[in-house]
Structure formats: C-alpha cells, structure tokens
Amino acid sequence: MGLELYLDLLSQPCRAVYIFAKKNGIPFELRPVEIFKGQLLSKDFSQINSLCKVPALKDGDFILSESTAILIYLSCKYPTADHWYPSNVQARARIHEYLGWHADCVRGTFGAPLWIQVLAPLIGVHLPEEKVQRNRAAIDRALQQLEDKFLRDQAFLTGQDVTLADLMALEELIQPVAVGFDLFEGRPKLAAWRERLEAFLGTDLCQETHGLILNILEQAANKKIPDPAPEIYPYMLLRISRIP
C-alpha cells in the first residue's frame, strides 16, 4: 500500500494538501472522509488518526496529521521543486513566519462565515449579529495585514515564488468566497495574487479542488447537504462556541 491521504475537500487544510500533491504529481490513494457524516469519529478512522482530524497522511506504518507537517513531509520526501519549501534558511524562515501569523489570524477566522451561514443553521444554531460583524472585522484586519506585511510588492506571500504559504492562504481565503463574501473585491493587489497563483496551479486543478466548496451555497439552497450525523453535534457546537 503506497501513500494514502485522508481528505475532505470541504476543509481548507485538506485542499492545500490535495492541490500540492496533485500539482507535484505525487502518487497517492485518495481516501475521502466526509466530516459531516461523522466519519472522523468512526472506529476505522480513529485508528488512522487518533486526533480524529483531517488531513491525515498514511505512508506505510507512518501516520501524520496537521497540514503544515504533511506539506513539509511531502515536499521533502518527493521530488518537488525547491521553491515550495526552499532549502535556503532565510527563505524557509519566511514561510514559517507566515504560517505562525496564519495560525493566529487566518485559521479559524476565515472558516467562520461558512459555519455562520451554512453549517450552524443545519443544527438550528443562529449566531448573533454581533459575532457576525466581529468576524467580518477580523477578516478585514487579516486581509490588510496579509497585503501590507506579507504580500507587499512581491509576486507571492514570501517572495517571488509560490510556496506552501500561498497554498495555505489561498484555501482559507476561498472559504468565505464560497458563501458569497467576496473579499477580493476592492483589493486589486490580493486579487492579482490569487490570479497569479491559480494560473500557476492550473485552471483544471483549481476547479477540481475548489468545485465542492464553491458549490456549497447551491447545495444548501437545493437542500442537498446531508443532515449532520448526531454524533458530531458536540464537535459542531464546540466549533461554533469558539467563534468570538
């Protein structure tokens, strides 16, 4: 059994791993996991990843979670171009610098609109307007910092080449876009970065990776999103309670 990647393409870090593996021609078995069907909590999956989270990688007996760790592992194990995770100490440090800020200011924050508009209502939870506005403000602040501190006048977030940082960012930014929050509107610099990145990755690969999430509103409107499995209600409520 070769490399296996356990992914749910509704999840931002899963998409980053998927798009990286595909772009680099890394051979893998896709093991789709559907979070909302409670599959993360299944006995089979918890044997794969006792943290019960996706993305997860299984390489023989070696099991790894956390998208950053997975991306670094893949970029080092397989023949991938240096620019993704450069061997140059300073260039590499810039990626980790971005990822540190990303963990504080992007992760969690950019996922909230999907929870607010689509996922929480599935279990009858409607967040107060105060929280919605607070999240919007946090997103705006993060986008400003993304432009001013990271992108600046560069082609990509940590320099002139695409890196793991750009993938992580793109997939988080797509999430609110999927529920109609066009955060590239009025931000031409960021829009240009997205265009450059998607051109580099290729239209087909982007469509394949983003198809599911970009269709989420239509699915919700046509009542095509399955009811979440009851066993994941506690996880959903915990996640919702973390929206400040």
Binding site: E66, I72, Y73, H96, G100, K149
Partner: protein
Amino acid sequence: MELAGGQHHSDAFAQVNPLKKVPALKDGDFTLAESVAILLYLSRKYEVPDHWYPQDLQARARVDEYLAWQHTTLRSSCTRAMWQKMMSPVFLGEQVPAETLVSTLAELDRCLQLLEDKFLKDQDFLAGPHISVADLVAITELMHPVSAGCQIFKSRPKLAAWRQRVEAEVGKDLFQEAHAVVLKAKDLPPADTSIKEKLKPSVQVLLR
C-alpha cells in the same frame, strides 16, 4: 523588551517587527517574527545538535506535527488562562466573568489531556525519545497558566515527570532564568491608564 510597559508599540521596534510583536529576531539585515520560525531558523543556521530538530524525515515530521497542532490549541488556551485568571484582574484591573474563566480552564484541561494522550504517550519527550524544540515550545506555554496559579501538574503525574525531564535537559539554572519574569507576573503593579489604553485593544480577544 518589556511588554508590560508597552515597549512593543514604539516606532523603533516597528522597524524590527511591523506586526509589533515579540519574539523578534534581527540577524544583520534579516528580521524575523514568530517563535516557531525563529526557533527553526536558529536550529538550522547554528547547526545545533540534531535532536532539537532532526534531519530524519519522519522524526522531524513528528516535531512539525506538534508545532502545528499546539499553536491553535494548547498555546491559545494557555494564553487565555493566564490573561483571564491573572493578568486581566491584576494588571488591567478587570475581572473576567466567572463562566468565561470556567470555560477557558475546561478547554485548557482538554488540551492537556490531548498533550498527554496523543503526543507524550509513553515517550520521554513529545516527539520521541529525545528532547526537541517541541518540548521547549510546550513547556514555555505551560508555564503561563502555572504563573497564574493553575496547578496543571498536580493531577497529571505523567506530565509532571515530563516537565522534570525537560528541566533536567535544559538545566535548572537556565530554566529558572527563562521563567523568572513570567513567574513574577502576578506581582506586577497595576498598569497606569496610558499603558492600559495601549494594551487593551490587542488583549480584548484573549478575554472572551
């Protein structure tokens, strides 16, 4: 740098880190923020002993996995616990609602359980048999709730044993030196109004 004095808001410091946060590194013209980025940069540039951040792909992946997981989980709950239980009342003069504190401490407890069950397990250190940067990042985070009076090691003998091992590896004197300031944070005099004004906006999010 003294955070309690608002020094990180000075213009001079903004030249080092426009995000106005510590830690920050300046190596000639090269400036760098974010603790994990700095730790990994130092590990590689100064060719420290391999166990800190191993060359072996899988061994290093274990360290990367911990470093990634901790940021949005343990780190977040340790910082909140310290601010809500101690810094806010003592330094900013503001009590946090009891139910908020209770929920934060419950979250901290959940993270500590995961730390023991998923990372430490039956190993001597978080990423395997040897100490690594993962252990340094973890122990320094855990000293925050400790400084606020949370007895996190009391009911967790496995974690307490790990702490002793980390302290022994680092060296008692260095460990104490590193933690001297945070362990005295509860004795900080209340902030004056101008400092409160400077710090409050960035601290709000930690108090919910």
